[in-house]
Amino acid sequence: MQALTNRSKVVVKKQMNFWERIYLPAILGGIVITIKHLFRKSSTVKYPETKREISQIWRGQHVLKRDEHGAERCTACGLCAVACPAEAITMVAAERVKGEEKLYREEKYASTYEINMLRCIFCGLCEEACPKEAIFLTDRILPTDYGRGEFVFGKDKLVEPVDERVDVTVRQTAAVLEFKKHKQYSHNK
């Protein structure tokens, strides 16, 4: 039969000699390799006791920001969900009623906001699409779990606590910071 490629090799079933047949040299050789590796520098780190250095623009677990008064910034506009290539984001909008002005920034807010972290590819398109500077990806590494259900993150895990703010200044690009300097560009007056 004609070979499809020129990389094919003809298999030869060679008789092993005595030393090869008792396997001892091969086993010893393997042990030597194992022992050598014991004294080498380890290529893994013991997370979470030690943490590997990560880039400044690392994209980890999301955060839903609150504004300076502690009100949720997200207005459930759906732009993050439509930008998401993995279709990981779902939300349900609700109307703010009187008395909730301290809780929600705009007249509409997300009553549920869920990110399926198993679908998410951490591309950061959601924070790029967000017109309200509400969602950011942070330097936090996503915790692991045994079940799949725990990976659907709701607002309880995504919204930052009022007394424990998440710093995202490194995620704001120079262009955005420049834009925010000029008051006349602002939409929320």
Binding site: T75, A76, C77, G78, L79, A81, V82, A93, A94, E95, E106, E107, K108, P131, K132, K183, Q184, Y185, H187, K189
Partner: protein, 335 residues
């Protein structure tokens, strides 16, 4: 009959046709945008000024150019008229200015607004407007008003196109809302918050080019691009019964009239169809509505077509993209 040249394209139209309608007979990019003109509402137009065009030759008898840009929705054609729309930088500059004026008091709360995604002003600003505003003053603000129990009025978003008052005047027996005040203080309102409730009042929602009048039953339910628009009809004794169902799964979130490629409703629907039949079983669903592929609503929206009918459908869409009226859909597509 009058022969008129728009952007170098010659077309023969009936006497008394406006420049805008002559351009629509040609179709394509040279059709001026319109925020207040509405073909099915008498006397509409002449208010928003986005349809401004330049007339470089008035007529065959008097070929002098018109001294200023004219509103194409209100100017009738003359034989031998030469019009420039997108070929004239002056027109584009003026239109950019008009968009800036329309946006002066517009709150730009698109992330909150239910109209986002199908908003004429959003499209207009995207195509013609500048990305930045030079306006530093505070915008005018109004309280939200409930017009009846089904319509919400956000006066802050209104651009005063007067379309809704024409709907009330021409479609309903008595008009109970109108424009109060003058100039900068004008606002759409009802007299002492009198409720608008008659059989065709819901059409105000459809004719509104912005999100000033929105359906309260659909308020914040879903963004339009997460819904699935389906053509449907039912036997209605009051109206044609031809509607679009905006569905999410099996649930009908909103019922609206069918709009053509210029965003205009040709067949108005009654309030019973619009509000009282939010069940798929009440409707004969014809199939997915054709959505222009440039629209955000086309995201995740699939129209079923087998390969044989696909060619016909593509030809139909090419006609549509040219701005021609949408030909009859393929019967096999809507089966």
């Amino acid at each position: 009959m009058a022969k008129v040249t728009i952007d170098g394209v010659e077309v023969e139209v009936a006497d008394g046709t406006t420049i805008l309608n002559a351009a629509r007979q040609i179709g394509g990019d040279l059709v001026p945008p319109a925020m207040c003109y509405y073909s099915t509402l008498k006397d509409s137009g002449g208010k928003c000024r986005v349809c401004l065009v330049k007339v470089t030759a008035g007529s065959a008898k008097d070929p002098r150019p018109m001294p200023k840009l004219v509103a194409s929705c209100r100017t009738p054609v003359m034989d031998g008229m030469v019009v420039q729309n997108i070929t004239s930088p002056e027109v584009l500059e003026a239109r950019k200015g008009v968009v800036e004026f329309l946006l002066l008091n517009h709150p730009l709360d698109c992330p909150v607004c239910d109209q986002a995604g199908e908003c004429d002003l959003q499209n207009l600003a995207y195509e013609h407007g500048a990305a930045k505003t030079r306006y530093e003053e505070d915008r005018r603000t109004f309280e939200k008003i409930d017009i009846g129990d089904k319509i919400k009025l956000h006066m802050t978003r209104c651009i005063l196109c007067y379309r809704c008052t024409y709907v009330a005047d021409q479609l309903t027996p008595e008009r109970v809302h109108g424009v109060l005040g003058r100039g900068d203080h004008s606002e759409i309102s009802t007299y002492i918050a009198k409720a608008v409730d008659n059989d065709y009042s819901g059409n105000m929602i459809d004719v509104c080019p912005v999100g000033a009048l929105t359906d309260k039953t659909f308020r914040f339910k879903s963004r339009v691009w997460f819904t699935n628009p389906m053509d449907a009809h039912r036997d209605c004794p009051k109206c044609s019964g031809k509607v679009v169902l905006w569905m999410k799964g099996e649930e009908v979130l909103r019922v609206s009239a069918r709009k053509d490629q210029y965003g205009e409703v040709k067949e108005y629907i009654c309030n019973e169809c619009r509000y009282d039949h939010k069940n798929v079983k009440d409707w004969t669903v014809e199939g997915p509505r054709h959505i222009d592929r440039h629209s955000v609503i086309a995201q995740g929206h699939y129209e079923r077509a087998d390969l044989i009918t696909l060619k016909k459908e593509i030809e139909r869409q090419i006609e549509f993209e040219k701005g021609k009226p949408l030909p009859e859909p393929n019967p096999s597509l809507t089966a």
